[in-house]
Symmetry: C2
Subunit: 116 residues, 2 copies
């Protein structure tokens, strides 16, 4: 699914039981021209900037990283984490490319529990 159609779906679901989720009102809260948000939601134009996607995700109660991913972007803080130790993290990510979800999850859990 495209970024825009997904945003539209989410917004319209919210709109069902909250009239403040009209395109115009969301655009107002997020700080965009309604015409621009309209074009975004119809995928007439490319997804907006990372900052705008962040505000949109917050207003719609969606996961910021997921929304960014649908826009083909990676959050700036993640980019910085990789860049700081580039060859190291590059290798790790390429190793993890084919690893199943539960393995990646297990690793994240182990690291969180601090057993290094």
């Amino acid at each position: 699914m495209e970024f825009g159609s997904y945003v539209r779906d989410v917004r319209e679901r919210r709109l069902n039981d909250d009239r403040s989720y009209s395109l115009r009102q969301v655009a107002g809260r997020v700080g965009l021209e309604p015409a621009y948000l309209s074009k975004i939601e119809r995928d007439v134009t490319a997804p907006p900037s990372e900052e705008t996607i962040g505000r949109l995700a917050e207003d719609l109660g969606e996961d910021r990283d997921l929304l960014l991913a649908m826009a083909g972007k990676v959050s700036n803080d993640l980019r910085q984490i990789i860049i700081r130790r580039a060859p190291l993290f590059a290798d790790l990510l390429r190793q993890l490319k084919e690893a199943p979800d539960h393995a990646v999850l297990r690793i994240a859990r182990e690291v969180r529990d601090g057993d290094w």
Copy 2:
């Protein structure tokens, strides 16, 4: 160190025992105008595109991911790995942010040895 100065240092080191590493010849092999490479090496202009950095890294025998990182960029294939399973990898990376190098390396090794 800035991207450009680093490239210049590397190139001049190569130039010491191989006259084919003049700015003009490298530019020729990599497919750039000499004036442009000159501006890049003096950090007068922003680092070039990912593709160009890749060709530069190859010609200079440098690590592609490292050079990209110095340019503030992340390789496209890594971005795709994250984007495919965005919230999952986002969480993992944030967990690993403070982990020491040897811990990250150990994880990469374990994954490579396929014990999941």
